[in-house]
C-alpha cells in the first residue's frame, strides 16, 4: 500500500498538452515525483538515470513508440519490474494485444477522469494513499 508521494512516475507522450493534463491529474492524486518525456528514446535516457516506479506512455509517438519502449523496459533486468501503463485511444486496437503480450500492467483509456486514473493505478499498485 504505497503512498502516492513515494511513487516516481514518468509520463511519455509527444503532446505536451496531454502530458500536462496527466501530470496535473497525478498531482491531484498526491503524486510528488512526476517527470515528462516526449518519446520513447528520451524516456529510456531518463529511465537510465532516474529511479522510476511507473511509466505512463502513449502508443503513438515519433522516434520510438510506446510499444517499443515497453519492450525495452521489460527487456532490461534493471527495469523489468517497472509498472507500465499505456494510454490508449480507439485507434490502438491492434497494438493493445501486442502490449498485453509485451507485459503491460494496465491501460488508461483516453479521455479519462481523475477517478478513473486512480482506479487504473490502484489496479496496479493496490490502494494508493
Amino acid at each position: 500500500m504505497p503512498a502516492a508521494s513515494q511513487i516516481r512516475v514518468l509520463i511519455v507522450d509527444d503532446q505536451s498538452s496531454i502530458r500536462q493534463i496527466l501530470a496535473n491529474s497525478l498531482l491531484q492524486l498526491g503524486f510528488a515525483h512526476v517527470a515528462q518525456r516526449k518519446d520513447g528514446k528520451e524516456a529510456i535516457e531518463y529511465l537510465g538515470q532516474n529511479p522510476t516506479h511507473l511509466v505512463i506512455s502513449d502508443f503513438n509517438m515519433p522516434v520510438m513508440d510506446g510499444l517499443e519502449l515497453l519492450r525495452a523496459v521489460r527487456g532490461n533486468p534493471k527495469t523489468q519490474k517497472v509498472a507500465f501503463i499505456i494510454l490508449t485511444g480507439e485507434a490502438s486496437r491492434d497494438l493493445v494485444q501486442e502490449a498485453v503480450k509485451a507485459g503491460v500492467n494496465n491501460f488508461l483509456a483516453k479521455p479519462y477522469t481523475v477517478a478513473k486514473l486512480r482506479e487504473v493505478l490502484e489496479k496496479v499498485f493496490g490502494p494508493i494513499t
Binding site: P2, D14, G48, N60, P62, T79, T88, V100
Partner: protein, 760 residues
C-alpha cells in the same frame, strides 16, 4: 487548464503544419511509409487532445479523418490524386474546426458534413472499415479478458545506479554514406592585414556544425612556426585542420570562406566513409563527430495578434472598392477612416485566427545569448575597472575593451535576432491553401511549389507577409495563369505552375512569386493607365515602368471583376504593405512565359544601417539601403526648370534635385544661387525612381534602432521614424520614398518625366 488548452492549440497548429507538409509530399507522389505515418499521427494527436478537452466537434471530425488515413496507412487504398485532394480538403475543414474550438468563426456545418461524407466514401474503398471503428469507444479497445497486472511496490533503493539500455535506434545512426567533411585552412598574411582573423573562420565553421547538431574538431599544424625570436607577429604560420560532422554540406562550409577566399588556402573534402584519419594530423586524433541524435527541430510556428482595427487613409470611394479581406487585414498608413468589418465568406473569416503571442525557440539559441550576456558582464566589469586608471596604458586598454564591447554588442544583437527569427514555412504553407481555394473558385488547375521555406526572417516580418502574399498568389491564380483552354491553345501544359520561394540575399530576404502564365500585357496596361489618367498619353515608359503601373492606385486591366482579386486596388495595397516593411517590389514579365514578382525585405524591422547626415542644422538618418551613391555636384550638370526646381544629370540619367533642408521646411533661407560643390546623395525608392538630395554634410555611418514616431506623435511628411543617437540626441529617419515621390510628383505634370531627354 486554460494554459494547457493554449498549449494544445499551439500543438494543433504544429500538427496541422505537419499534416500539410505530409499531404503535400503525398500529392507530389511521395509514398514513404514515414510520411503516411506522420500524417496519421498529426490527426491522431489532434483527436486525442480534443477528446481530453471535450471538444466534441473536433473529435468527431478528426475521428473520421483518422479512420480514412488509417486506411491509407494500412494500404487499403493508395494515395491517388483524388484521395489526397479529399484529404487536403478535410485538412482545411479540420484547421477551421480547430480555429472554431479556439473561439474563432463557426464552421459551416454543410462543409463539415460534405468533407465527412467524402472521407467516409474513401474509407469504404477496399471494404467497409469506417462504421465498425467509429462505433467503438476507447474502453472497448481493451480486450475483455485483460486483467491488470499488479506489482509489488518497492520504494527506491538508496543506491540507485544508472541503468544501461541497449536499444537500437536504427534510423538515428548516421547513414554509412555520410562522411565527415574535412577542411584545411591556411590563412595568408593578407587575411590579417585586412583586419580579419582566422578565428572568425573557425567560429563560422563551428556555427554551421552546431546548426547541424554536431561539433567541429580542430587541430592546428604549427610545424611552420619559427622560433619565437624569428617570429613576425603579423605573419601567418599555422594551418588548421577541421573536421565537420557529416550533416554539413560542402556548400555551407564553402560559404564560410566567401569573404576570405582570396586571402587563404583552403580545401573542403568529403571523406569517404572508410577513410582513416591521415596520420600526419598532429594534435588529437580527429574523428567524425558523433552524430547527435538531434531530430529536426520541432516545427516552429507562431501566431500573433492580428493588427487591430485597420485604418486607412484612402478616400472613401477607393475604400469601397478595396477587396475586403486583403484591405482590411493590411496595416495601412494611419488615417481616420476605419474600414467596416469585412463581410466575406466563412472561409475568409475562418482564416483569421485568434492567436497567441508566443514563440518556440531552439534552446541553443537562448544558450548562445546567455553566453554572450555573460561575456558582456565581464567586459563591462573590465571597462569599469579600467576607467579608474588614468595612465596612458590604461587608456589604451580601455579603448580596446570598449571595442571588444562593441563587437559583443553586435553579437548579442545577432543572437537576439536569431531568437526572433522564424522560418517562413508557416506562412508559405498557408499559401497552399490560398492557391487551392483560388483554384477551386476559378476552375484552374495550378500547382504551387514552395522553395526555401526554411529561410528565417524576423517574426514580425513573417506575420506581416501573410496578407501581401495571399493577395499576390490570388492574383497569380486569377490573372497570372491563363484559363486551361488558353494554356492548351498556347501549347503549354494544362496545369499552371506557381513557384513561391524565399532566400537570403546580401542581408535582405528575397521572396519571389513566379508564375508560368501569360505575362503582363504591357500594351493593355499602358492603354488602361492612360485611360485612367494615371499617365499622359504621350508618356514614354520603359517596359519596367509599364510593369510598375499595375501597382498604381485604382488600376485594373481585368475585363471583368472577379470575386477573387482584380478590383485593381489590391496591388497598390500590397505595395504599400511591402513598403511599410522597408521592402521593394520588382517585376519581370515575359509575354507568354510568365511573370515574376520579387519582394526584397530587410531582415529586421527594428534596426537599420543608416547614414548620418546634416541638413538645415539638424542631424538626420537616411537608410543606407536606399542610397545609391554620394557625390559632389558640378553646376554644369544642373538644369533649372521654369517652376524654380532643378534636375541634375548624372551620367546621362536625369533626376530631380531636392534641397533637403527646404523640402523638410527646416530652413527658411532660399537655396543658394549656386549649387556648385554641394554634397548630394542619390537615393532610390522601391520602384526604382531616383532623386538627388542636397545635404550639408555627411557625418557618419551607423546602425540605428528604429523608434516609431507615429505611435507617439503623428505621421510627418518625409520622416519614417526616429532614433536615438550615441550622444543621446534624437534624430529623424527620413522616408526616402516619400521624398522621391513628392519630387517626382513635382515634375510629374510635365510629360516624359521618367525618361527625359533633358540630358541630351
Amino acid at each position: 487548464m486554460d494554459d494547457i488548452l493554449q498549449i494544445f492549440f499551439q500543438e494543433c497548429d504544429e500538427q496541422l503544419q505537419e499534416l500539410e507538409r505530409g499531404l503535400s509530399a503525398l500529392s507530389d507522389g511521395e509514398s514513404e511509409h514515414e510520411t503516411v505515418n506522420a500524417v496519421f499521427r498529426a490527426v491522431h494527436s489532434i483527436k486525442g487532445g480534443a477528446a481530453s478537452f471535450g471538444l466534441d466537434n473536433l473529435v468527431r471530425f478528426s475521428h473520421v479523418f483518422e479512420n480514412s488515413l488509417d486506411g491509407l496507412r494500412s494500404g487499403r487504398f493508395a494515395p491517388t490524386h483524388d484521395v489526397v485532394k479529399t484529404f487536403l480538403k478535410a485538412m482545411d475543414v479540420l484547421s477551421d474546426l480547430v480555429n472554431e474550438a479556439r473561439g474563432g468563426a463557426a464552421v459551416d456545418p454543410t462543409r463539415v458534413a460534405e468533407s465527412h461524407a467524402e472521407l467516409a466514401a474513401i474509407n469504404s474503398i477496399g471494404g467497409d472499415h469506417g462504421g465498425a471503428a467509429s462505433a467503438a469507444t476507447t474502453e472497448d479497445v481493451i480486450p475483455a479478458d485483460f486483467s491488470p497486472v499488479p506489482i509489488d511496490f518497492e520504494p527506491v533503493a538508496a543506491d540507485f545506479e544508472p541503468i544501461p539500455f541497449d536499444f537500437d535506434f536504427g534510423e538515428e545512426k548516421p547513414a554509412p554514406a555520410a562522411a565527415a567533411l574535412r577542411v584545411t585552412f591556411h590563412p595568408h598574411d593578407t587575411l590579417y592585414e585586412r583586419g580579419d582573423d582566422a578565428r572568425n573562420i573557425l567560429i563560422g565553421l563551428a556555427d554551421i556544425a552546431r546548426e547541424c547538431g554536431g561539433e567541429i574538431q580542430t587541430s592546428c599544424d604549427r610545424s611552420a612556426l619559427p622560433p619565437l625570436a624569428d617570429l613576425v607577429p603579423d605573419k601567418s604560420y599555422v594551418t588548421w585542420h577541421i573536421v565537420l560532422p557529416p550533416e554539413v554540406s560542402e556548400e555551407s562550409a564553402n560559404a564560410v570562406f566567401d569573404w576570405v577566399s582570396e586571402d587563404c588556402d583552403f580545401s573542403i573534402v568529403r571523406e569517404s566513409a572508410e577513410d582513416e584519419v591521415p596520420a600526419e594530423q598532429d594534435g588529437e586524433q580527429a574523428e567524425p563527430a558523433e552524430t547527435e541524435a538531434a531530430a529536426a527541430p520541432p516545427p516552429e510556428e507562431e501566431r500573433t495578434a492580428e493588427p487591430p482595427a485597420p485604418e486607412s487613409a484612402l478616400p472613401p470611394a477607393i475604400e469601397a472598392l478595396l477587396p475586403m479581406p486583403v484591405a482590411a487585414a493590411l496595416d495601412l498608413h494611419a488615417g481616420s477612416a476605419t474600414t467596416p468589418p469585412p463581410a466575406t465568406g466563412a472561409a475568409q473569416a475562418a482564416a483569421r485566427k485568434p492567436e497567441q503571442a508566443s514563440i518556440r525557440v531552439d534552446l541553443h539559441r537562448i544558450d548562445d545569448l546567455m553566453d554572450l550576456v555573460g561575456e558582456l558582464v565581464i567586459a563591462q566589469a573590465a571597462i569599469e575597472s579600467l576607467s579608474r586608471r588614468t595612465d596612458a596604458a590604461g587608456q589604451h586598454e580601455l579603448v580596446q575593451s570598449i571595442s571588444s564591447m562593441q563587437s559583443l554588442t553586435r553579437d548579442i544583437q545577432d543572437a537576439v535576432m536569431a531568437v526572433r527569427a522564424q522560418p517562413v514555412r508557416a506562412v508559405f504553407q498557408r499559401m497552399q491553401r490560398v492557391v487551392r481555394e483560388a483554384c477551386s473558385m476559378t476552375g484552374k488547375d495550378i500547382v504551387l511549389t514552395l522553395e526555401g521555406e526554411d529561410t528565417e526572417v524576423d517574426r514580425t516580418l513573417v506575420e506581416k507577409l501573410t496578407d501581401p502574399l495571399t493577395h499576390m498568389l490570388r492574383n497569380a491564380v486569377d490573372h497570372g495563369i491563363e484559363s486551361t483552354e488558353a494554356r492548351i491553345a498556347a501549347g503549354k501544359p494544362a496545369e499552371g505552375h506557381i513557384v513561391l520561394s524565399a532566400e537570403h540575399r546580401s542581408g535582405r530576404i528575397l521572396i519571389t512569386i513566379k508564375d508560368d502564365g501569360a505575362g503582363i500585357n504591357r500594351q493593355r496596361v499602358f492603354e488602361t493607365a492612360v485611360k485612367r489618367g494615371i499617365i499622359p498619353p504621350n508618356a514614354v515608359l520603359s517596359d519596367d515602368e509599364i510593369n510598375n503601373l499595375i501597382f498604381m492606385p485604382g488600376f485594373s486591366t481585368a475585363a471583368t471583376v472577379s470575386n477573387l482579386s482584380g478590383r485593381g486596388v489590391g496591388m497598390d495595397v500590397v505595395k504599400q504593405a511591402i513598403q511599410s516593411l522597408g521592402g521593394r517590389i520588382t517585376i519581370s514579365s515575359t509575354p507568354g512565359k510568365g511573370t515574376t514578382f520579387g519582394f526584397s525585405l530587410p531582415l529586421t524591422l527594428a534596426i537599420l544601417d543608416g547614414m548620418l547626415i546634416a541638413a538645415g542644422g539638424s542631424t538626420m538618418v537616411i537608410p543606407i539601403s536606399s542610397i545609391i551613391e554620394t557625390m559632389i555636384v558640378k553646376q554644369s550638370d544642373i538644369y533649372a526648370l521654369p517652376d524654380g526646381s532643378n534636375v541634375i544629370s548624372i551620367r546621362g540619367d536625369c533626376m530631380p534635385l531636392i534641397p533637403l533642408a527646404t523640402a523638410l521646411k527646416l530652413s527658411d533661407a532660399p537655396p543658394r544661387d549656386s549649387l556648385d560643390a554641394s554634397i548630394i546623395l542619390v537615393v532610390e525608392n522601391e520602384s526604382g525612381a531616383r532623386a538627388a538630395l542636397i545635404v550639408d554634410e555627411i557625418r557618419d555611418q551607423t546602425q540605428v534602432v528604429i523608434k516609431s514616431i507615429e505611435s507617439n506623435y503623428r505621421q510627418i511628411f518625409g520622416v519614417s521614424a526616429a532614433t536615438i543617437l550615441g550622444d543621446g540626441s534624437v534624430s529623424l529617419i527620413l522616408d526616402v520614398s516619400a521624398l522621391v515621390a513628392s519630387a517626382i510628383g513635382h515634375i510629374d505634370s510635365k510629360p516624359s518625366n521618367t525618361r527625359p531627354e533633358l540630358a541630351a
